[in-house]
């Protein structure tokens, strides 16, 4: 008699896959078998279809969040912000700025003064975020990368020139070369404030590609801002760009800058404070993160529904094929092996579904911009045919979303999705697997009688 080897998974896989998916069409006159197997191909399809939107949500939301975060960091907050007393002299400020820029890990440091004003033109008026930028911003590669111009320059060359955000310019109805009035507040005697009117020539119109950011930008030179803005309401800071804003080294760098402040004699001086970008826009990024989590949760429910469908198909199979399972038991397949066959079969079904769903999901995510453009073009084509006067449809309005979704494929997510998909499939297969293990070989005798 031959030696019985230790338990081997290969035969279990062989049996499980053949049971569930059948042999490649050999017997076209066996419709019952085809129907049985189609239930499992249906389960594969269910799992793959449920995974596709998960990938799209993951990659699109990630891309959106990353794109928006990049724009916030590079065009507005910087990676670190060192708040300064408004009264700090230019000479001291410039020295501090140079010292920080010389630190290892710092890419650039630029002074900025922000405040609020009312922008007005002959066509209207609206509130504006006055950004007084230092000339050194033009050495900031990140800023230049994300700022695109609709016309003119991206930095005002003269004291009486301003660069407007795209949507502020639209709200005011002005273009390059036009004049706008900026109304700020100045201190009068005895604590009173009076409006200060300043006239600027529009030197350029710019956009970060994200409306939330450039809807209110009124960019002037920092010297002009220091002169126009009220010290009690304005905010002066050095915006610091680092080599790796997303890395763990950001906090260490912040400590280095704090040390630099101590060496420069500013330790404990009121008005100085250092914050990372995560602190500055904490609520915004928390909101992004929670929105993404909710979307993923909804998509995960779809996967669970698909997995339950797989469990249902497996359970039905076990119930309908007790005799075949009893045959296996009659020639010595143990109850544990029987359970393993269905557990592995379920996991294999999940694996097939996850692989197929991942391939489609990644493909769609990768080409999401082109696909959305195509769908949009098709919708507009049909609506023009049906109603020539209709307004064009925009699926992702660039006024509120990024004009182009930056997609980067994250392999960690893919591994997690596929791993979880297979694990959930195996988990839900436990019930039919246990059910199958309880089928006794004696059922064959009952069948024969």
């Amino acid at each position: 008699m031959h030696q019985i080897k230790a338990r081997n998974l290969k035969p279990l896989f062989f049996l499980g896959l053949r049971f569930l998916f059948g042999k490649p069409v050999q017997n076209p006159k066996a419709p019952v078998h085809r129907v049985r197997h189609s239930a499992f191909w249906g389960a594969v399809l269910g799992i793959s279809v449920s995974i596709v939107p998960l990938y799209i949500v993951l990659f699109v939301s990630n891309g959106m969040i990353q794109g928006i975060t990049d724009r916030y960091l590079e065009t507005k907050t910087g990676h670190l912000q060192l708040a300064l007393p408004f009264t700090l002299t230019g000479e001291t400020r410039e020295k501090l700025q140079r010292d920080i820029a010389g630190l290892g890990g710092v890419a650039s440091a630029s002074f900025e003064v922000d405040g609020i004003g009312l922008a007005a033109s002959s066509r209207g008026s609206t509130s504006a975020q006055v950004r007084g930028l230092d000339q050194s911003i033009m050495a900031d590669e990140g800023f230049k990368k994300f700022i695109q111009t609709d016309g003119g320059t991206i930095y005002p060359e003269k004291q009486n020139e301003a660069v407007l955000g795209r949507y502020l310019a639209r709200a005011l109805g002005v273009g390059v070369g036009d004049t706008v009035t900026l109304i700020t507040l100045r201190d009068a005697h005895e604590g009173q404030m009076l409006p200060r009117l300043s006239i600027f020539r529009v030197a350029g119109i710019v956009s970060s590609g994200y409306r939330e950011l450039d809807a209110n930008w009124f960019i002037v030179r920092s010297e002009a801002a220091l002169r126009l803005l009220n010290p009690s309401t304005a905010y002066a800071f050095i915006g610091i760009k680092t080599v790796d804003p997303y890395g763990a080294g950001l906090n260490a760098l912040a400590s280095g800058i704090t040390d630099q402040l101590s060496q420069s004699g500013f330790s404990g001086v009121q008005g100085f404070s250092l914050r990372t970008w995560r602190d500055i826009e904490r609520s915004l990024f928390a909101s992004f993160s929670s929105t993404k989590s909710v979307l993923i949760l909804i998509m995960a429910i779809a996967i669970i529904v698909a997995a339950v469908n797989l469990a249902s198909a497996l359970t039905t199979y076990v119930i309908e094929h007790r005799t075949e399972i009893a045959i296996l038991r009659s020639f010595g397949v143990s109850s544990q092996q029987t359970a393993s066959i269905f557990l592995l079969g379920g996991a294999a079904t999940g694996t097939l579904g996850c692989i197929a769903g991942s391939a489609v999901g990644i493909f769609i995510s990768f080409y999401i911009n082109q696909i959305l453009s195509g769908i949009q073009a098709a919708i507009n084509f049909v609506s023009r045919l049906l109603a020539p006067a209709s307004h064009p449809v925009t699926l992702l309005n660039p006024d509120y979303y990024l004009e182009r979704i930056p997609i980067s494929i994250n392999w960690d997510y893919i591994i997690i999705v596929v791993g979880v998909g297979i694990a959930v499939s195996a988990l839900v297969s436990l019930v039919p697997a246990v059910k199958s293990s309880r089928i006794a070989p004696a059922e064959l005798i009952r069948h024969g009688q």
Binding site: I4, N8, N27, L328
Partner: protein
Amino acid sequence: MNEPIIECRDLIKTFSSGAEVLHILDHADFSLEKGKICTILGPSGSGKSTFLAILGSLERFDSGSVRVDGYELQTLQEKSLSVFRRKVVGFVFQFHFLLGDFSALENVALPGYMAGLPRADAWKRATQLLDLVGLRNRAHHYPSQLSGGERQRVAIARALINEPPIVLADEPTGNLDAASSEELRSLLQRLPEAAKTTLVLVTHDSELATIGDTSFLLKGGISNASDKGS
């Protein structure tokens, strides 16, 4: 007399049907030598199939002892019973019980593959067994493409894949026509020598019953009906 490969002592098996208790085997004794063909006869409902199922550990019994190839079945737990079925017995049922999604070759090879034989070895041995039962040319056909007699011959080949010392056949010609029955009878007759096994055969078929070296009649208990001697 050689040491018996199967030995039952004081075997009791009952079935309950509501308040009624049906005594299928009542203090039955049975013994069979290695390498023999034993036929078990008896009227319908006398418990022939149940007795065979007990010998093959498909069915539990109420009391008594059953020793098959050294295994004391009354002491074995579920896991050990699987090992026993894998190593000691091969089954041939009245209905072929082949797996519809597997070819004849795969049906034969499967118990060997599941028992731990390497795939290539299992397939090779299955091919040899199909040769033995005269179906090598039908190896890649599916059960639905085989005749009743062919299916039973595949089932016999399957029963032999793990080289069991005992083959238990439960009315293997029960569903076959006369010609197929004759072919199968001839095959079963040469099985103990060709496969070096012991054959226990439950049958209604008087022709098939003649191949037995020894016959037992099951009617309440088991009695030795005839013994051709060895």
